[in-house]
Symmetry: C2
Subunit: 164 residues, 2 copies
């Protein structure tokens, strides 16, 4: 399941030589549907407020796992960045120019290319959870959804009777 | 690498019958050192403020990946909950009694038992990142570290000159 490593390495980047990943195995539990069909269309980071509605389409066997999730405003979504190379320990993102350690970046290029987004829950439609705040490609494999209690409480809510 | 499923199922819980996970493979990039050696000792959720210092010990090959991470106050840490069963779509946590969908819980029992904690970065010591806010067992396999810009800005900081 390893993807071809199609990206060229940039100046300052460091690739490591490690054996094939084989410590644990993942199961895709569904697919993510977004309006983004090319990398150029993907936003740099999803917007849980104004981003487009995206769909987490679970395989039917896992659909009952969504029961109770609508009580939450937000969730952490984990997905598999199946087109990413996995051997860079230092990277030079194009927009930046400097070389930075992989774990100091949220780049999709990492030893375990697991994407993480904090999303706003819009509604559930049977085996589908509609959310906002994703930035991944259409068809991205889904790994997990976890409820999140305090993702969007950063700004204090307006007090009753106080104009905002 | 699948773990034995040692937990009994509780009333209302639903196990699904799915083929062995084989969609993608993970590479452990190190181990997490915590003071918690039994599940009973693990807090229900880590405390990034007052929790104990824990150590993310990276394999030497990945250590340069930490370069630049100390500029951040916080990080998302992903780890592998290698003792968890993976077949429950509905669960009845002991403390609660009700049955809830797996994706409406942050239980370690899930189809892909990837743990996620938002931690406070304390310091780096070569291939080791010292953090606060973890709740996992000592020896837990480490999968990924991602910088986080706004994890601990939920409470507004005290204003200069104002007693807190």
């Amino acid at each position: 399941m390893e993807q071809a490593m199609s990206d060229d390495i940039r100046t300052g980047e460091v690739a490591v030589n490690v054996p094939e990943a084989s410590d644990a195995s993942l199961r895709f539990i569904g697919r993510i549907r977004t309006p983004f069909t090319t990398r150029a269309e993907c936003p740099r980071q999803g917007d849980p407020g104004d981003g487009p509605d995206c769909r987490l389409e679970l395989d039917p066997v896992w659909a009952p796992g969504l029961d109770g999730l609508e009580a939450f405003e937000a969730a952490d979504v984990l997905y598999w960045l199946d087109r990413s190379r996995r051997d860079l320990v230092a990277q030079s993102p194009k927009s930046d120019g400097r070389t930075t350690g992989t774990f100091a970046l949220r780049s999709p290029v990492r030893p375990n290319p697991i994407g993480l987004a904090r999303v706003r829950i819009v509604r559930r439609e049977g085996p589908v959870l509609v959310v906002r705040g994703l930035d991944c490609l259409d068809g991205t494999p889904l790994l997990d959804i976890k409820p999140e209690r305090c993702a969007f409480t950063v700004q204090a809510p307006a007090k009753p009777g106080v104009a905002s």
